[in-house]
Symmetry: C2
Subunit: 347 residues, 2 copies
């Protein structure tokens, strides 16, 4: 079993091993004092993995209750959050008990936020079941829900007690969901690790399973390094936004329908690289995203995307930060005023 | 002008002076960089003080928007919170802007929680307009909303950028609301400051205005000292719960209708003092609470109150903490299992 230690305001370990969900109870019993656990999941993941998890938890003496909501981004709402709070109340979850987030990014984000705020904060554990959740959203302590006026507009920083990554669960994912996660893996290679990039670029979606353990381990390690240096997202952590400035605008322009997060990030990475980097970097990047069925351009008018970048609710004052990787494996942050960013993109 | 510095994870000042609301803009302009502010208030306080505050803010170059909800505990709900989020979105409040909580405990608690979670945390300022809010809820960074199954069950720790206390605003309070706050002032005397207790005990509700500035300053100082030593409520901060273990049970038994928070705390202080302290301490305490129109007993069956103490959702595992002041000005924390607490009370 591999273990990655995350040293943030509260430290924790990420455990990585094939088949680990079957033994999750053994790990959790060593980490929490309580023997009462509430599992939050969505209806798809619940059917696939809840029984395995429950069995392992019960074998370790845990009393387990569960709350399941419909899969999909629409559930990452204040309404679902309210239902989770009610469930936690009805099951008498106290400050000394623990919640498990069993699922992808939506489950992890909303469960983490419930854990951050119920009784002003109780312990939670991440068992991420998509590639995107394993290498991105379950690591780093960002939790959130969406509002009708935008994604992730309400949230908190709350580190989990541990993260349990079982790459076996990735085998049940559709090609589209797998591609979605690969965009973030490619991003990690681009911003910090040329070797990881080359490894990914030398494979494709059809045979990525051969190297997926390596990808998960290396991606998480990079995210861990960045998050440890900037837990509360005030500086270096921004390099994780490579491809995301324009990517978020693309998702928003298409009302989160046409492109997955990963597809939008892939396009965003290619667009910003086209503007600010040499052609050989761009060519390598385009070949790589295409090998994972990810797009490298879209037809949204650039002027509309720029408007959405400027209106980003999470932006500060009149400045925008964008990330460039002039060499593969090396990212830099560029803080410019919005008009300068527009000139850069329209150039 | 008096100033009390609070050294918590983020430090801030509490400004105390009669008439300060008229000049709040001058103070705030020195503390925040933004010139865009959203004020959250209730319909009663809005009518009394919003215009004064707006004028002072505008004079200092601020653009001000406001959201007003119906006064009362029923508004401290997830529904009002959702309305506040929508208001903040619609007014394009960004991470670099600021929110003001203008009102009593309900306004302060829900506004603080909105500030703690909107965009994962933006700045907020407290302008408390009740005695209870000035000496208790606005200091210490506890924010919360209620759930149908209990009060303050969802929340976060979030320190304000500053607190602005103007004791002139207390003159518009009804006797009942004033008494409500005096219970907490008496509590501060009991747990930490025999002199403050004597000062309060030598006056009564009718002439408390003569010493109210002193009471506010000393009470806040005590709360500041306690909070600085235990910001996240894992130890010493529990002494602030003197009278609250039973007080909360009384509020809950009467469905938060019959007794105000302060009245319930007054009864709670007297009940626990009767059980664990000498008669001269109890007599002094009873005389003091009575001088401020606060009750010292109620008719709720003790067995029912004990059940509610045991079911307190915010309690940890099988233990309960209660606070005793064997000498006026000196509090001690007693952690016992629930059955032992029952024996102590029924004795």
């Amino acid at each position: 079993m591999k273990k990655i230690k995350v040293r943030t305001s509260t430290s924790y370990d990420i455990y990585i091993e094939r088949g680990l969900t079957k033994n999750c109870g053994d790990i959790i019993a060593n980490i929490v004092k309580t023997r009462k656990i509430a599992v939050i999941s969505d209806n798809i993941v619940d059917k696939l993995y809840y029984d395995t998890i429950e069995t392992s938890l019960q074998k370790n003496g845990f009393t387990v209750s569960k709350f399941v909501f419909p899969a999909g981004e629409a559930s990452k709402s204040i309404e679902t959050l309210n239902q989770i709070y009610t469930f936690l109340c009805e099951n008498n979850i106290t400050r000394s008990d623990c919640i498990i987030a069993l699922g992808g990014g939506v489950v992890g984000d909303i469960t983490g936020f419930a854990a951050a705020t119920f009784l002003r904060g109780i312990d939670y554990i991440q068992i991420p079941t998509t590639l995107l959740a394993q290498i991105d959203s379950s690591v780093g302590g960002k939790t959130a829900i969406d509002l009708p006026c935008g994604k992730n507009l309400v949230g908190a920083f709350k580190q989990p007690k541990c993260v349990i990554c079982d790459s076996n669960v990735l085998s049940t994912l559709s090609d589209e969901i797998m591609s979605d996660g690969m965009a973030e893996a490619i991003k990690y290679g681009m911003i910090r690790d040329a070797e990881l990039f080359e490894l990914i670029a030398s494979h494709k979606l059809e045979n990525v399973n051969e190297i997926i353990d390596d990808i998960v381990y290396k991606s998480i390690s990079i995210k861990r390094d960045v998050v440890e240096n900037d837990e509360f997202d005030t500086g270096e952590r921004m390099i994780l936004n490579f491809g995301h400035t324009i990517g978020h605008a693309i998702e928003s322009y298409y009302n989160y329908q046409t492109y997955t997060h990963g597809s939008a990030v892939a396009i965003g990475m290619c667009m910003i690289t086209e503007k600010g980097c040499e052609k050989n970097v761009l060519d390598k990047l385009i070949n790589c995203v295409n090998a994972y069925n990810l797009p490298h351009y879209c037809n949204a008018p650039i002027s509309e995307l720029l408007k959405l970048c400027a209106n980003d609710k999470k932006r500060e004052s009149n400045y925008i930060n964008y990330i460039l990787c002039k060499k593969i494996g090396q990212a830099s942050i560029h803080k410019v005023c919005i008009t300068e960013f527009e000139k850069f993109i329209l150039n």
